[in-house]
Symmetry: C2
Subunit: 477 residues, 2 copies
């Protein structure tokens, strides 16, 4: 006789409700027939009566059964007629699939931001409206409205944008690329998704920084990858750790964000870069270099990427517009060997058939316009200003309770809290006080760290936001 | 002692080259050292000498070894210095991952179209430039250039577009939807990708039409789904077949394209629709309804979708702009229960962080503009005209050699060839003659069927294209 499976991840009541639904749908209990009592079923399935009550509630909610006080539970007739009719069990489908949901903290943050528009936002990794080149892009769009045929475009990306990127990569990033080695994506997120889905197989070992943005991406777990960590200190990762992981776990790929790392803001030192390149070329190990922040260098000199020193072709380079211009354009790019570009182009065509040509054209025009360079200048100055406001406020409100290293570029500020407060309690209390930031555990760090992103809040919100955060902290210690 | 694995899918020479590369990288053969001769290694690995020659060629191409006539093969020193340096084996990475490549025929067709722009295209499932509302969209764009902040938008899709779709779905499709039940995607392709990746698990059984567009999508296999077929006759599928598959294989979902089905052009009959809805609600089985073509009904009355009769909430409804306006906008939508919309929104955020707001705004404005309805009128008349041209040409060139049912809407024409010609030979000969169509086996049908899409070719190309196709056929019989 059937019994619910206690080792299953599916709740007992859910298994029972599914089982009963199936028996009803096969006609075992015709419409109008009386079901066994809750007590009897509880005995039969060897569960608590409350579990059966929950299963009945589930079946009642979809109209399959009806209960009347004193006369037991019957298969519905009135509503569904002679044949029982069922709505698919959508909540079960929503829990299915091999794709993991976003981390609970990130879902909570997004939900809080959607519900409370007045929250001061130190969580979202994007620019504020005043930092984005909105007017410039609007002007380019009205001057150059797209008038050609809007058919399926090359899934590798618009040629206009790839040509603009060849110049951009050469002039700003010291990278020699050709149009055929560039794949346009809808941002770094899609670049990473394509790499993890198409170049790696379930069970493969990869190395990521610790803490790391990658850790916050369930796509790594969804792809069945085994993650190994490269601890980040004030000079970035220690390259020898890669060799150790390679020997021990045969890691197949390394994911790095060497410039103004997310979340720590650190820069991989020159000496370590050299050793890193030696080690990976010795091992023939590919590195994915995520490079979204380099142009925000506060001293005005964009930091060179690893890729510019990559004579061996070991590096898959990922760039994006999201952190330097407009995240809403949804434009990113990858520079990779031809075989990889072709493979990923084929895969992305199966996923989304390529990007709309309109934002690609806008992005290409913006890169080639006289607006681009002055925009970067302004962006750097404004970001530095916001960073300084943040530090000033933190020192005023929480002096002695925090430890940090001042970032010299990027949009993130990583901070250790000396009081010992669990991440979930800190997050909820912050939201209650009208401010939101990201607990460090989202990036795989120990409890007690916080990432403040200072690009999103308006300058006049920063002091108020930190005052609210400090209030939350003080109420918890 | 190591030997290559003859049961592996990896070529023997590749296994040998990987093995040698690994031994070299671990220092077993230091730079400058002599490798064993090809003959010796062939003996040791128990392979032909030519296999070792191929493995050496592979290693030479990455610079790991050097051969000089008469002095054997050595690990490189000059180029790589004291430590051997390796480029990652990118071709191996390009073959990795759990994501299957596109079908060879489809890759071949795409490649041919890219190489020979003069090919007459009966393969691409999209509109020709003259059928797309290019001027109308350009005018809307220049009138309404996007001037707001281009930040990350709601990953469920722009509210403006979802509101426009609520009206559109009500007025044109008889569907009652709310903004919260609509997810904007980058087209039907992404809608199907999200469903197969996030709602189904590897090993799940699903039912698809036979022949079916779904069969051409490796995403179904990549997701590990078991596909079961519902044969399509001139009135669509037989609903009882669904019950049979459900009993036999516990199918978890059904994928249907009831109106002007791709590739057959058939319409599911009214009587079968009613029985279908009864059966799926009896079984509590969800149906994915792909509805890209209904508005192209040649008699001017758009066919109602299944979803408009779905009182049980059993249907996930998929729509798109690609076949009725502009595929290059990359805009599609899904109407689904709230729990499903939320789940897929969360997943798509992990894949691509949502769509650019610009094409969404353009699509919303177009739907609400006075251009939309006249555009549809014109589209219907033009498509019917092209269909008639196609049939006229086929009758002139191949009378007696083909069998077909005349489609009364849509963009596809399904055709049985009476001469027995293998699909691959027919495709290559067609390309050689300057025309391309899709062999039926791409959709899972037996050999000897062909899909002609008549929307893409210009009216004056259709007769010429069919003449070329007929020439190809005649050269093969």
């Amino acid at each position: 006789m059937w019994k619910p499976d206690r080792t299953s991840k599916i709740a007992l009541y859910q298994q029972i409700s599914d089982y009963l639904e199936q028996r009803i749908s096969y006609g075992e209990f015709p419409p109008g027939s009386l079901l066994p009592s809750e007590r009897k079923l509880a005995e039969q399935f060897e569960v608590n009566r409350s579990t059966v009550i929950s299963a009945f509630a589930e079946l009642r909610s979809t109209g399959i059964i009806e209960s009347r006080t004193g006369s037991g539970t019957r298969v519905s007739t009135s509503k569904w007629g002679a044949t029982p009719k069922h709505t698919p069990n959508w909540s079960r489908f929503a829990e299915g699939g091999s794709f993991l949901p976003n981390l609970p903290f990130l879902r909570r943050i997004r939900e809080a931001l959607a519900q409370h528009p007045t929250l001061i936002d130190f969580a979202s990794g994007e620019l504020s409206a005043d930092l984005a080149p909105t007017d410039e892009i609007a002007e380019l769009m009205s001057k150059n409205a797209y008038t050609s045929y809007l058919g399926y475009d090359n899934p590798q990306g618009s040629m206009l944008l790839r040509e603009a990127l060849v110049d951009y990569l050469h002039n700003y990033r010291g990278i020699q690329a050709s149009e055929s080695s560039i794949l346009i994506t809808s941002g770094s997120q899609q670049s990473l998704y394509l790499i993890t889905q198409c170049l790696l197989s379930p069970g493969d070992a990869v190395a990521i920084e610790d803490p790391s943005y990658c850790y916050s991406l369930p796509m790594f777990q969804s792809a069945g990858l085994r993650l190994f960590r490269l601890p980040v200190d004030t000079h970035g990762i220690e390259p020898e750790d890669i060799r150790t992981l390679y020997k021990k776990h045969r890691i197949k790929m390394v994911f790095l964000n060497p410039n103004y790392q997310n979340p720590t803001g650190t820069v991989l030192s020159d000496e370590r870069r050299k050793r890193l390149l030696e080690i990976i070329s010795e091992l023939g190990l590919p590195v994915v270099e995520d490079d979204p922040y380099s142009l925000t260098s506060y001293d005005g000199l964009p930091l060179a990427p690893l890729k510019s020193m990559d004579t061996m072709g070991s590096i898959l380079y990922i760039g994006s517009f999201s952190k330097i211009a407009a995240s809403g354009l949804r434009i990113g790019w990858m520079v990779a060997p031809r075989s990889i570009v072709e493979r990923l182009t084929d895969a992305r065509q199966q996923m989304d058939f390529g990007l709309s040509i309109i934002p690609q054209q806008v992005a290409g025009q913006f890169l080639q316009s006289s607006y681009f360079h002055p925009h970067l200048e302004r962006l750097r100055i404004q970001l530095q200003f916001k960073r300084d406001l943040l530090i000033e406020s933190l020192e005023k409100e929480l002096s002695g309770l925090i430890e940090y290293v001042v970032p010299v570029g990027g949009i993130h500020f990583w901070c250790k809290l000396i009081p010992n407060i669990p991440d979930s309690i800190l997050l909820e209390e912050s939201i209650k006080n009208g401010v939101v930031m990201v607990p460090g555990s989202v990036y795989g760090s120990d409890s007690g760290y916080v990432r403040f992103t200072f690009s999103r809040a308006k300058p006049d919100e920063i002091a108020l936001g930190i005052a609210r955060f400090a209030k939350a902290i003080r109420s918890l210690i």
